[in-house]
Amino acid sequence: MKRVLILEDSLIVSKLLANLLRAKGFEVRECTTVSEAQNDLSNVDLAILDYSLPDGTGLEIAEELKRRRPDVPMFLLTARGSSIPRDVARKAGIKEYMEKPVEPEMLLKTVERYCAIDADT
């Protein structure tokens, strides 16, 4: 079905989101660093990217992904009160901007919505 990439340095968060998505029938790949994610960006249909990572920011991957696969929707997870301007994120190609802690239901619904849109076009 759909292949989702989760780039998140918190094990707990990554585990939670991955499991929830898998329960909905998605294929999930988890990475915890930017370099890990860099290696395989080809088989991705949707990307959920944490902003602050040990070796960089999620936006780097976002830009890379946007270049290679512009049709792939990307979400950015940031800490609450983070000051990453939305237009910077948007320029990098981010479609959804979510603050942590992420409400799982909301994330799932958003992911599904993007898949639905994808199905339409």
């Binding site: 079905m1 707990i12 939670l16 329960a23 942590k100 799932l108």
Partner: protein, 818 residues
Amino acid sequence: MCPFSPFVPFVLTVCVFLLIWWYWKTGRLLSIIKRSRDRFKALVDLSPYGVALTSKTGQIVSANRALADLLGRDVRSLVGASMPQLLGLDSKQIEHGYANLSPGEILKLPGLHLTGSDGKVYHLRPCLFFHETHPDLLFWHIQDQTTYFELEKRFEELVESVPVGLFWADLNGTIRAVNPEFKEMFASVDTPSNLEELLSNKLWKQVKKSIVSKDHVFKTQIEVKDGNRTRYLKVELKICHHGASNYLAGILKDETVEQELQQELKAAYDKAEAASRAKSIFLSQMSHEFRTPLNVIMGMATLLEDKITDGQALELVSDLKKASEHLTSLIGDILDLAKIESGRLTLDEHPFDLKDLMENLSDVLGVQARLKDLDFRLDFPEDIHRFFKGDPVRIRQIIFNLAGNAIKLTQKGWVEIALSCRDAEGDNKKCLEIRVTDTGPGIPEDVLPELFKPFVQAEDGRRAGGTGLGLSIARELTELMGGSINVKSKVGEGTTFTVQIVLEAVDECFVPETRQNSKVALRPGTAIVADDVQMNRKILKAFLEKKGWKILEASDGVEVLEILDQESKIDVVFMDVSMPRMDGVEAARRIRQNERWKDIPIIAVTAHAMAEDRERFLSAGMDGYVSKPVKPDLLFEEMAHVLSERVLGKEEAGNVSILEPKASKPVSRSEKNKVQKRQDSKDSPVDYEALVATCQGMEELANELLKALVGECPKWIEEAERAVASLNPKEIRKICHLIRGSASTIHAHELNSAAEALGKAAREGKSELYPVHLNALKEAGQRLQAWISAKICLPDAIDTLEDITQEASKQKDVTLQA
């Protein structure tokens, strides 16, 4: 010789002198007489009046030229003619007439008509008299009163035939003369003889007062009964001068027809007004009727979404929701449009923050634009005045309709809203111009004039799912505000809508508190849900229970009061407005009257969404309202607003977000929740209930996460110690951030808040607090690990990533099979 002979020449001379003197005297006398005679002759001859001398029987002795001209005869030929005959008079009449005449008395004969030699008809007034010096002669004067007679005749005809009543009265009010029409108007009653009778005592007094001024025309209306009809007569009168005397002249005009027409008009107007009101009530009722089942559909669909895991079924439900959302907007739009058209939509004008409105709007529109990969820009220049007086809800609606349309119809490029402001006529008035531009397909020229009509849409519009009423409503609202809206478009390039409205700029200090940002979540408690329709209760209950609330149901106002009486700690009451026995408004009033409950938050849940209704709720003591169909996010937003206001008072509500979701910060009263289910969760380091909920009910997953936490926690503590030891605020903040990210996700609120405290100290540079907070963090970590171990009877710690993910994939197989 004669003795007299010497005197003879002397006597002769004297005689001669006497003769000459006498002759001369006589001559003089004669000339005087002659002159006198000539004078009178001239007088008589040149007089325009016909003058004649006749015998007692009327035989003309002499006549003047005027008479001769009048009669068309030669002067000389008149001598001897019979005057009575010439004038066509009865000689007997004359004889009788002057027989009794005394000298000097003038006998006036009635006017007579004579056809002159020129064929014209003359009107003559003869009069005669005699003088004592000439008792056998009659002196005649004949006046030519033709012109006068003509005028009089014409005047009389006018007075007779004119279709208004005319009257003359003296200054005492006595009516001296009336024309036939006047009499006609009083056909069935007595013709009034004086103005007091005509007008009424009061009016006559007024006339007397005002009539002094020469040019003043006194106007009034009187009623006269005519059988079983009433005649309405307009009266106008003024003072007139005639020589030395003054009198009053006036007219009476029958305005019965006009009056009746006016009455009919008023009746028709009242009828139309009543019809309009009935329509409005109908609309309001329809609104209610439509929204109630829609509420059910929407609510059920939302609840269904949570229960379904199958992807295809989810899509179906999503379509169901979309369709009912569309229906809701459509109903809203139709009702708005109907309200505007029947003139029943009123603007709710008050001071508002334009910048806030635009930013809020931009957030929403931005999301929509991003979904289609469009750029969305808001151009709000810094120098624009920020606060205005107007109806922000409707202004927002206008802009939203235009921009929303733009986004819907544009496939690539951008949508921009640009604002500009310039001075306008009037105190503090500014002309606000809002331009919505898009790079969409553009609108063909032939469609442009029809664009603002309801349901006119280009193909794309329909496909994009609009209601077709957005532009109509935008235009009607703009015009209601006295503004203008127009459109420019080029096919293939894009479209620009320009809205111009004049608003009053106001000072900042008059703007009321703006809403707290709705990103806060609520601490659950106990609520009463009151609605006579079980379905509606069920929906609201489900929404609230999902967030951890305990719900008590009531089906009318009486039951609400009963529950309040029995239960001690109710946090909020949700009240439907229309319920049997006792409705929501009445119940709210009763609640407020009771000392015990006067602070309880009450939120109206209603299908009545009109502004007047809102006023009604608020004045009955309700704190907020949500309209049906109920959307969960709006519901919680309203709850957050109402509950924060109630507990802290209005000023603080704007500043403090006391409703912190999972942290156990310094608590305020509102955080003392009474959810029984959560009694145990509250005291433990992890809110287990919430965690399981987050895991969508998968307890195994929750446990897995807790196990992983046990593995990670020591590493975090170590990292934190290192950072504190190095006194590097950036490092401290980094690790705290990491801890918080994970802890908050799995509802380990104790750990979360400990990390927050340390991070805050680092942010504020308060290094003296580091040790204290670090210790708290360590303790929290230890407590957490102990609790988790106890909770899930931990086997030997799983501390490798692979193991954890393997567990997770096993998880997947399990759920898929299920």
